[in-house]
Structure formats: C-alpha cells, structure tokens
C-alpha cells in the first residue's frame, strides 16, 4: 500500500499518512475543511488526498464554520465519520454553538438513541511570527471544559499518527490540537496503522525528584533542557500530557505522590486553564505528599501581541524555564548558555519557518 519511506518523518507527514490510511480502511470517512484542497494543502497535511479519494470524500468548503460543524454532525449521524480541519483554532470559535450545544452533548442528550457522533476536528494552534491576538490562541482548556468532548494535543509525529487514528475511530467527538511549531519536527513513525489511547498521558522519562508535566510545544522546550537538569542532579520525571480531556489522573497523581513536587508547562493562558486544573487535582489528591507548592509556567493572561518586540517578553523560553525549575530546588543560576530551542529568532521554531503563518 505504501512505498518505502524513511523511518523518520515530520509531524505533518505523520498526519497525512494517518488520514490516508484511515480513509483507505474506512470507505465512509469524509474529510473537509477550508484549504484542504488548495495548493498549500493545510501545511501539506492533506496532500494527495483528493487525488486519491475524490472530491466527494475530500472537499473544500465555504467560510461557514458553524454550519459546517453541524453538517459534520449530520453526516456522522447519517453514517459517515467526519474529519474536519481548521487552519487556526481561532476560526473555529464561530462554531461554538454546534460544538457545545450539539456535538458535545448529543450522545447524552438523546441517551445514545440518535446516531453516532464520530467527528474529529483538527485545529491548528500557533504562536510567533506576528500571529497576534487572534491567530495564536491555544484553547485546550476551553474545549476541555465541556463534558462529552475528548481533547488531545500530541507532541511527536509518532503520537500524532496514533492519536489521530484513534480519534477517527472513536464514537465520540474529538478535538485534535496541532501546534504549528511542531509541524516540522521529525520522529520515528512506523508506516503501519496503529492506535494510541486518547486517555493516557505519556511518561517520557522516569525520575523521583520532581514531576514535570508539559503540553504541546512546551514538551520540546523541556527536552531541550534535559541535559542541564541532569547536570544539576535533578532526577526529574517528565510527563507529556497529550490528553487534556479526560485528564489522565492516574498517571499524574501517581507521579506527584512519588515526587512531591510538580511543575506544569502549558501553551494556554494562565487562568482557568489546564494548568490550574492540574494544580487543583494535585492539591486534592496529593495534598499530603507535596513538598513544594505546585508551579505553573504558562502564557500570561494577556492576548498575544503581534510585534516582534513584544513577543520577546510574552513566551517562556528554555532559559527561564530552567531557572524556574532550579529555583524549586533552591539552586540559583546566573546566565547560563542554552540555545533556545533551535533558532536565532524567538518568534520562529526554526530556520524552516518563513511565515506567513
């Protein structure tokens, strides 16, 4: 089915490969979205699909986010699983009536007696390069508020492929959040079909001194300081959250019970967020085990500004993340040399990113 390819592929390629495989396996799966068939193919993620599966199954849409979300629901109730894609999560805010008032509670509202809500919604979130207030919002906490939705936010190409496969099979609505800055990251991805649980966080590294929980682009930021943390003799446990709704309580609680310390890094705003939810969970269930107050590293409660001059102060970078974690252990550092993730400029993830979005 698949021509031989390199074991290592990008996040976007993993997504593309997954959609391809799932559309082969499930002849009823329908995929639509604005830009899905345009020359750029949603950053390449929908490349080759319309050519292979035809315009009935892979189609371009009018700028009608709300109706299209309801249309997706109707399609699914009529027996056709749906994958929708939005180039920015911000655009999808127009669809909240359909998402919240219908999709999220359809199964409950009719006690399972209407059709199946097999709807997956890919939302790309971003940052930097002047994305500004309305093209950058990482809204995982918003989506995670509502019973009935599942919310996943993969970090690696491997997880992206397996989680998307599971999402497309799941008889529940799934919000699938992709960070634009992860799109070009490379990882080992088997070419075969595989599934990853939508309800399990991933322990990337075992340790006993502190639990570091990161979401999305914060995960490579932590990976970037692994060596430094080890240099300071911090035996940390690192969890990639992956699942925002439902939260994998067990993995988090077990870890914090063991370490007694937790730092949470999230790409969303600070208040009423995934990070605050985790802190409250930790306080509730690990109160007696805590040796230090929980620490959060998030976006401030400020919209993202557009200016290159301002975003410099807006995001956390490996350097101050390290500083914050070390301070939990009362280690003070002055200026240490860490290369910020992988670029000269703070507003791009790497040389590959040339804008415009």
């Amino acid at each position: 089915m698949y021509t031989k390819r390199n074991n290592n592929i990008t996040f976007v390629q993993a997504i593309n490969e997954c959609i391809n495989l799932q559309m082969i396996n499930n002849k009823k799966l329908i995929s639509f979205g604005m830009g899905i068939n345009d020359p750029k193919r949603i950053f390449g993620s929908t490349k080759g699909l319309v050519e292979k599966f035809g315009p009935q199954r892979v189609f371009e849409v009018p700028t009608s986010e709300n109706a299209l979300t309801g249309i997706g629901l109707g399609l699914s109730l009529g027996g056709y699983p749906v994958l929708m894609t939005h180039q920015r999560a911000d655009f999808f805010l127009l669809a909240f009536d359909q998402l919240i008032n219908s999709i999220s509670k359809w199964n409950y509202m009719y006690d399972g007696n209407s059709g199946i809500v097999n709807v997956t919604i890919r939302l790309i979130v971003g940052r930097g390069w002047g994305q500004g207030p309305t093209h950058s919002q990482n809204l995982q906490s918003v989506f995670s508020h509502f019973p009935g939705l599942k919310v996943v936010i993969p970090t690696t190409p491997y997880d992206a492929k397996g989680l998307l496969a599971s999402s497309l099979r799941d008889p529940n609505p799934v919000i699938f959040l992709e960070h634009r800055w992860l799109h070009n990251s490379i990882g080992n991805v088997p070419s075969k079909n595989y599934f990853i649980s939508l309800e399990k966080s991933k322990i990337l590294k075992k340790g006993k001194d502190i639990t570091i929980i990161s979401t999305s682009y914060m995960t490579p930021e932590i990976k970037n300081i692994y060596k430094k943390l080890e240099y300071y003799n911090i035996n940390f446990e690192h969890i990639d959250l992956i699942c925002c709704k439902p939260l994998d309580r067990k993995t988090i609680i077990n870890s914090v019970k063991k370490t007694g310390k937790v730092v949470i890094l999230d790409t969303g705003f600070e208040s009423n967020s995934i990070s605050s939810e985790i802190v409250s969970m930790v306080n509730q269930y690990c109160f007696k085990n805590l040796k230090h107050q929980p620490v959060r590293i998030t976006i401030p409660d400020i919209p993202e500004p557009t200016s290159y001059g301002l975003t410099k102060f807006y995001y956390h970078h490996s350097h101050d993340i390290l500083k914050k974690i070390l301070s939990i252990f009362k280690i003070k550092i002055k200026n240490i040399e860490i290369k910020d993730s992988n670029s000269l400029y703070h507003d791009v993830p790497g040389e590959w990113f040339k804008g415009p979005f």
Partner: protein, 328 residues
Amino acid sequence: MATTTGLSLNQKLKIFETCSLIRHVESEISRRYEKGKMRCPVHLSIGQEGVPAALSLILNPKDYAVSTHRAHAHFISKGGSIKKMIAEIYGKSTGCSGGKGGSMHLVDKSKGFMGSSSIVGNSIPIGVGLGLAIKLKKSKNLSVIYLGDAAVETGVFFESINFSVLKNLPVVFICENNLYSVYTSLKSRQPRNRKIYKMVKAHGLRSYFFDGSNPFSYFKKLEKILEKSRRKSEPCFIEFSTYRYLEHCGPFNDDNLDYRPKKELLKWKKKDPYLNLKKKLEKNNQQKNLIKKIEKKVYKIIDESFLFAEKSNFPLKRNLASNVYKKK
C-alpha cells in the same frame, strides 16, 4: 371539493388523523401540565397542525427530519412513538431520550426523526449534513428541516442554505411562519415588505409559499414539490403561514398580555386547521362515522401514552452519568 384538491378520501382521512393526533396530544399536555408532573418547558403546536399533518403522508421512515424547540407535532408527524415522547416530557426512563432531553430533545431513529434542538437555528445544519449523507448513499430520501420564522434571522440559516445549494442536497426546509418569536412580532425583526420565501429564492433554490392552515388545499402541490426534490436530489424551501393559539412556552393562553392584535388572533382562529378539516369531512354522514372512529383511536393512543408515562419509573441514579461518552 374533492375534485379541486385531487385528494382521495383515504388521503384526507389520514391527514385528518395526524392533525387530530397532534391537536389532542398537545391539548392533553396543556390540560395536565398544571399537575406538575411534566417538569420541563413545553412549546405546543396547537393551531400549527396543518403542515406536519400534510407532511406525514409524504415522508417515509427512511427520510430524515430534525426540528426545533417546538418539536412535538413534527415528531408525531414523522411517526415517532407517542408513548416515548410523553414519557420523555415526564422525565421518565422510558422516554425517547431516557429523560435526559425533555420536550425539546426528541428522537426516534427508527422513524428517521434524528433530533430537535432548543437553540434557534441549531438543527438546521445538522439536517443539511443528513442530506449530504443521503446524497453520498445515493438513496432517494429527503432530509426535512423544520424551522420557525426567527431561525431565518440566524447566520447559520444562510450558511446552511448556501451549502445545500452548493452541493445540491436533497434537503427540504420547512419554515413555519407563525409571525412571532416569543412575544416579538415579525414586524420588529424583519423588514416590513420582506417575504421570507422570496428572499430565500435568491439563494438559488426552489422556494414556495402556502397558507399552512388548510392542508387539503396545498397537499397535492406539496407532494409534487417534494417529489421533485426527491427525484432530482435537490433542495427546496417552503414557507407556510401559521399561528400558534397558546403562549409561546407553556400550557396556557396568554392573550391577556396583549402582544398580538385581537383581530389577528380571530382571523387565525377562523382558519383552525383541525376544526376546519373536521367540519369539511363531517359534512357527509358516512364520513362523520369514520371521523368518530379515527378520534376514538386517537384518544386511545393518548390515554395509553399518558398512562405509560405515569407508570414508568424515573431513571436510576446510575443513569445520571451514563452516555456522557459513547462506549466503544
């Protein structure tokens, strides 16, 4: 009369039967509501029976339908289980939605009634999606979307019309224009000289208007219109004028509030779909007997349905959290 409308007696009786069923189910809800056992908002269709009565004869269980907050009549018209509907309004475990949805969230998948929404405009795109599913299946079915005159003011309505024309979907928009959104007249909501069906026509689909109160008068035309959409798998829009007799929400008459001109009310009461059909059919003595029989059957269904609801149990505590997610 029979010759001008082209309806057989059998068709007339069937239309009347649905009309009677809707009228009496709704009236019984209204009568019993004060007892406090139906503990959810109800939007009754008394006065608006004509359109769903006519459609009940044209649609089949494989056709889909979705509706609004005022869904009882549409559900009945589609053949939905009245027992389960009443039980749902009573909040019982035997209700069509297990007591979780109430009057505004009715479903009977076996009859193609896929759901109704309490949010104005919300079910419109869902019906369009069902229409797309029909198109993909290449089956000769329709997806019927019931909406009120206020839904025409939502953005999602236009998005949905556009998409159904773009993709040429077998979707039938049924707009029941009862002149009001809660207490607010159409005059305060839409430009005075606007005709909804004409505005819709500009979007590129066949669009029609009928006085909804006399289904015998438009049945044949309606049948043809829908037949064309079915055959050609294409959308159409039909606006019906109609009028609700009771308050927007609840079992009572609210004419004391004076938000509707007395003359207007009187005019529409004269056009009472149920009473007029009955009167027409009862002109003939033999038919009078048939009507009696039909109504006896209707009363029986209603008695049984309310008894069923009254006797059913409330859902158990463990059902509170069930079905938040569908198990694989």
